[in-house]
């Protein structure tokens, strides 16, 4: 009837791997944030897949909460980037040492 769950899990693992590699490779803070979003989406996909495999609503509820936390995280993270940029034009991760105070 439907696609076996293993396919979704492999797809989510690949997406997570791409996100993790991008987080390490890119130096633009905004793009690093986008890579974190990729990893969060991979985990969400895994949650939904296990919710279907185990016939459990808990997986879908977890995705709901992950969405809320991701929204809050993006808001605070982008505010930090804007504050950093206002103090000194620093869009790359190498210049975040100005946060040392």
């Amino acid at each position: 009837m439907t696609v076996p769950g293993a396919w979704y899990l492999v797809l989510a693992a690949v997406l997570f791997g791409i996100g993790a590699t991008g987080l390490l490779v890119r130096r633009n803070v905004l793009v690093m944030f986008m890579c974190i979003e990729l990893m969060l989406n991979a985990v969400n996909l895994t949650f939904v897949t296990f919710a279907r495999l185990l016939d459990d609503i808990g997986g879908q509820a977890s995705v709901f909460f992950v969405l809320v936390v991701a929204a809050a995280e993006v808001v605070v993270g982008l505010a930090i980037i804007v504050a950093m940029f206002r103090r000194r034009a620093a869009a790359t991760a190498d210049e975040i040492h100005i946060l040392k105070g």
Partner: protein, 205 residues
């Protein structure tokens, strides 16, 4: 869901439903991988943000394929509608897209090491999913998905079993809003006390 509707409409049985489920999965997977590689490989942050939208739509397609219709809608509305717009707004606001980092890589071996590390992590995940029997856990601990609409089940679950976490997300969102206001506030005089020239200068600063 989509597959079931298609099968019911045509009446040609489970074979077409099977094929359409695979088709949705394939299209979603292609969108996800295209978008993910685009986010990582494209130089311009605006292009990366647009590729992120493609990935998010692909994930929403996979949600639909797995009968999580409500989460697919929320995925589009919250992620593609709000979070990516926020990303684009900050990119445009800071004009990051015109600035290309000119400084050389401080640690030379970082990129090859990062790719290697990513591949190792991916291999580890795949091997673990092969060796361990993850999906043989307890079934429907928090309630079954069957016998009702997806939204109804999720709503019942969130407002009964997960009520306290749900209330905590409300607190979290308020804290995030306050934090965003505090972090992005300008120090010094407020705009109403400034002359137009000073306001212009403060905006550009």
């Amino acid at each position: 869901m989509t597959a079931a509707l298609l099968a019911a409409a045509t009446g040609s049985g489970a074979h077409l439903a099977h094929a359409s489920a695979w088709a949705v999965f394939g299209v979603g997977a292609a969108l996800i991988l295209t978008g993910a590689f685009g986010v990582v490989l494209l130089r311009n942050p605006v292009h990366s943000a647009l590729m992120l939208v493609i990935t998010l739509i692909g994930v929403a397609l996979e949600f639909i394929d797995e009968s999580a219709d409500f989460l697919a809608a929320v995925q589009i509305i919250v992620y593609a509608g709000a979070i990516v717009i926020l990303f684009l707004f900050v990119i445009m606001f800071l004009a990051v897209d015109r600035r290309e980092p000119a400084a050389p890589e401080p640690t030379r071996a970082q990129r090859p090491l990062a790719v290697l590390l990513g591949l190792v992590a991916l291999a580890e995940l795949l091997i673990l999913s092969r060796v361990q029997h993850w999906s043989s856990g307890a079934h429907h601990v928090a309630g079954s998905l069957k016998g009702g609409e997806d939204v109804q089940k999720l709503g019942e679950s969130i407002f009964t079993r997960y009520l306290l976490p749900f209330e905590m997300t409300a607190a979290l969102l308020v804290i995030a809003v306050v934090a965003a206001v505090v972090l992005s506030r300008r120090h010094g005089r407020v705009a109403a006390e400034m002359s137009p020239a000073e306001q212009e200068e403060a905006t550009l600063r």
